[in-house]
């Protein structure tokens, strides 16, 4: 399995073999740049590279 973060520019910005790490990285990016929530997405692909889930966007943390 592969977990890759892509920007809406079409370019990969990170890639992981662990889903939790990938989701945490996505959340960190959006925490730093809440306006980027729609611009960054996680794609999950199988070992052959076929997408099985995505795009997955992070939800910016609520501001209290």
């Amino acid at each position: 399995m592969n977990y890759s973060l892509f920007a809406s520019t079409g370019n990969m910005i990170d890639s992981f073999d662990d889903e939790a790490e990938a989701r945490a990285a996505l959340q960190r990016i959006v925490a730093l740049e809440p306006e980027s929530a729609d611009e960054i997405a996680l794609f999950i692909s199988d070992d052959a590279g076929a997408v099985i889930e995505g795009p997955i966007h992070a939800v910016p943390a609520a501001v209290s």
């Binding site: 370019n11 990969m12 990285a25």
Partner: protein
């Protein structure tokens, strides 16, 4: 090695098949010494469409803040994502239309200083090249739903 093939065996990969991760920043950028066909998601239907040239610019060229592994690897920030098959590119674009409406067949020719590395999923490549030279290498552009 025939057209369109990039050897897998000599590249740096971890055991999962993921060529890049936050803890694995080494990659092998291969010089394009013979023609290689790759597929790039683009925002435009013709080579002359402004969005197509823009689609051949790296995040660095777009003045995008480095994110993720781009912070630790300038190579990734300077690179372009491409795919080894039309379907691999189109599947992602169909799922996320913001990526682009069309898929360009990019025939990377020797003599332009292009480099390519296996990064991310098995079907993904990172390519380094100058946008106008990459534009000249576009052999065809098809809508994402063309298969």
């Amino acid at each position: 090695m025939g057209r369109g093939s990039v050897p897998v065996t000599d590249t740096i990969r971890d055991r999962s098949g993921s060529g890049v991760s936050a803890s694995d920043l080494d990659l092998l950028a291969r010089h394009i010494a013979e023609p290689v066909d790759l597929f790039r998601i683009v925002k435009g239907a013709t080579r002359g469409a402004p969005g197509v040239l823009g689609s051949l610019r790296s995040n660095y060229e777009r003045d995008a803040t480095p994110r993720g592994v781009e912070r630790e690897s300038v190579l990734l920030h300077l690179g372009l994502s491409m795919f080894v098959t039309f379907d691999a590119a189109a599947d992602r674009a169909l799922r996320w239309p913001a990526l682009g409406t069309h898929i360009a067949l990019v025939r990377l020719e020797p003599g332009c200083g292009f480099h390519v590395a296996e990064t991310g999923a098995l079907v993904h490549r990172t390519v380094w090249g100058r946008p106008l030279q990459l534009l000249a290498c576009i052999a065809d552009i098809l809508p994402v739903g063309a298969t």
